[in-house]
Each structure stands twice: as structure tokens, then as C-alpha cells.
């Protein structure tokens, strides 16, 4: 169903559609017109139709969209019908925030282990995980199915840990370290660069002359 040709812009919007549809379901809304969806999401109705046409389209002329059906279909496209095991490397504040955040779990992301170099943190429970030494990483990854590794550690140690994970066969990195990881092309890296996000805001503040 999914095609290689799906543009980055569409991929960026899909989770947002998914979130909105989830909110509509929570509010008991069963169906929605593309016009209403467009108004709520501040995306044009034609853009929405175009986006959904990438996946065969889900609407029915005159009826609009069935919210639950659309939610499930987009969930499938996003790969949320199966669970994803995630390990966290770095038990600082960001690592803790991820491990404690129940919303991820609801969407099928299961945090299975958390690693840190600080002996004071070993054996501490964070969310449903016990903190383990980073030295245990290799053994852990060999013995468990790890789909995603979240790197929540300083930029100095991130490249080395990332390379190690890739050597162990991990194919998807969720990178919070403020550096770009140079990894083989078949490794998927999703960056969350908080400082860059803040700088964009600063740029827009300056630009708008606030």
C-alpha cells in the first residue's frame, strides 16, 4: 500500500491527521466532511484529498470520512498496528521523559530498556524499565528484539553509541543528541534537535519584529 514516492511533506502531515482523528474519536465524532477536517486542521480540503489519494483515498463523495476507519487506516500506514520495541540510551531528563510518557505506549511504542553510564542510576526504575549500564547494551541488543534506539545522551558520546548500535543491527535511531549522526544509508535516523527548534522561534521573533 505504501509507496517509496510518498513525499516528506505528506509523511510530516500523516501523524498530525492521526492525532486529530484520535481527538475526534475521543469527542465521539463518527464522521467528518473534508471541509470540516480542513477547517480544524488548517490544511486545504484539496490538500487533504491529495494526501489521502497517495494511499488510495478514503473518502466517499457526499458522506465525507468515517473517523474511526480513517484513524485505523492512517495508523496502519504509519505502522502503528504492530508494537515497536524501543530502548533508550541516556537516563537524563529527556530519557526519563520518554520512558515516562504513556502516550507512546498507547500507540504501540514499548520502552523495553534504558541504559546509562552513571552507576548511581543503575537499578533505578524509570517508567517500566530498570536502568542498566551502557556496557550491557551489546548483550541486550543481541538477546532482544530492538527496533528503535532513542539516543538521549550528550553529543560527544552519541556518534560512538550510534555506530555500535548499527553494528549490532539496529536500523532506526531516534536522535536527541544535538549532532548529526553519519550512519550508513539504510539506517533510519529521526532527529529531534531542540536547540534548532528554539533558534527557529528566535528567528521568527526577530523577523516579525516583536
Amino acid at each position: 500500500m505504501t509507496e517509496k514516492s510518498i513525499s516528506r511533506a505528506v509523511i510530516k502531515r500523516l501523524p498530525r491527521y492521526y492525532r486529530y482523528l484520535g481527538e475526534l474519536m475521543e469527542n465521539g465524532i463518527v464522521r467528518i466532511s473534508s471541509m470540516e477536517l480542513s477547517e480544524r486542521m488548517k490544511v486545504t480540503a484539496s490538500q487533504i484529498r491529495q494526501d489521502f489519494n497517495n494511499f488510495g483515498g478514503f473518502g466517499q463523495q457526499g458522506y465525507g470520512y468515517n473517523v474511526e476507519y480513517l484513524y485505523k487506516e492512517i495508523g496502519m500506514i504509519l505502522g502503528l498496528e504492530s508494537t515497536h520495541n524501543v530502548i533508550i540510551i541516556g537516563a537524563g531528563n529527556v530519557g526519563r521523559a520518554l520512558a515516562n510518557y504513556s502516550d507512546f505506549n498507547k500507540r504501540g511504542f514499548v520502552f523495553t530498556a534504558i541504559f546509562d553510564n552513571n552507576p548511581k542510576l543503575w537499578e533505578e526504575n524509570i517508567g517500566s524499565c530498570k536502568v542498566q549500564p551502557v556496557d550491557m547494551l551489546e548483550e541486550y541488543v543481541r538477546e532482544h528484539k530492538v527496533e528503535i534506539a532513542a539516543l538521549t545522551l550528550p553529543k560527544e558520546s552519541a556518534p560512538q553509541v550510534a555506530a555500535k548500535l548499527v553494528n549490532l543491527g539496529v536500523k532506526a535511531i531516534w536522535n536527541f543528541a544535538p549532532t548529526d549522526l553519519n550512519l550508513p544509508e539504510d539506517v533510519l535516523v529521526e532527529n529531534v534537535h531542540l536547540a534548532e527548534s528554539l533558534m527557529r522561534l528566535s528567528f521568527r521573533i526577530k523577523e516579525s519584529g516583536i
Copy 2:
């Protein structure tokens, strides 16, 4: 110097250029050709020239770029030559991570106050801030210069707090709550939606058939 016409894509790349140039400076590199910069950043040399031409261009044919000069100029464009006062609403893990993260401070973002509804956290020091009750927010914003408010609270309370901040004159919101805030058009909102980032990764995992 900055123009309204700068595209989102360029704005997105600027902080990345800035980060790279900072790393080059840390490594004692004084000048760099657009080709080298291009290789390191994995952006084409022509893209880099085009991006910089938005701001008058900084390179010299045959010399390349002076790293420190370029770093400072891009810093100016990003509004980093002056400090920005930031308050945090929500002293959970994400709020703590922001308040404790020294990199922001280096770039002129000063976290001046942190607010939370939980009385157990009041008076606790996080980074350089003491946690205050959310009820104190109004008084605080009236008496201090607040440029940016970081919302690190649940999606249920975020819209209400955001509206209050906007009423008090705050014009820039750094939103970590997993919801879109419907605020007046002149309010700048920069969203960090972690769940969406993770879903994009999940999409790419599925798409690539890992």
C-alpha cells in the same frame, strides 16, 4: 536584512548551518570552502550558496567562507545576538530537561522561571529557577519581560494556559503539548510534537521494510 520572503525550508536549515559552524570553530577550523561545507552537511554546494544569497551571501570566490564570520552572521540572522527570556510552564521531565540544558543558555536563551500546579514541587530549584505555582504566572508576566513561554504540560491544560499567556502579551510559544494551539495569527508557535516524530520513524520503518 531579513525578509518576509525567506522560505520555511531555509529557516529550517539555518540553525543547522549555525550548529555546524560552531562545531568547526570548536575544532579550530578558520575557513571552509562551500564544497567542504556541502560534504559535511550533506546539502549541495549550490543549495548552500542559494541559502546564503537570501541574506546577501557571505562567501568570497576562491576563498570560501570565514567560519567565525559566517557563524556570527547567521547568529545575527537567527536573533541570537540578544538574549531571550524564556519561562517554562510544567515542571515535569520535559520542563526539567529544558531548564537544565546548558546549551540553550550558551545561545542566549535564559530560563527565568518555571511554573507548576503541583505544590510538592514549589520552591524546588530546577536549573537556575525556583518552581512557582501557576497562579503566579499572571503576576510574573506583568512584572518581567517574557519573550518565550515553553509549554511542557498535558494537552488538556495547554490551550487554556496558552490563551492566558497570549492575553498577557506573550508573543512566542514553544509548545511541547501534543495538541495544536489555536492562537491569534500574530502569535508565533513552534511545536515540538514528540509522538509525531516517533510515528514518522515508524512510518519509515514500515516503508523501508526493515
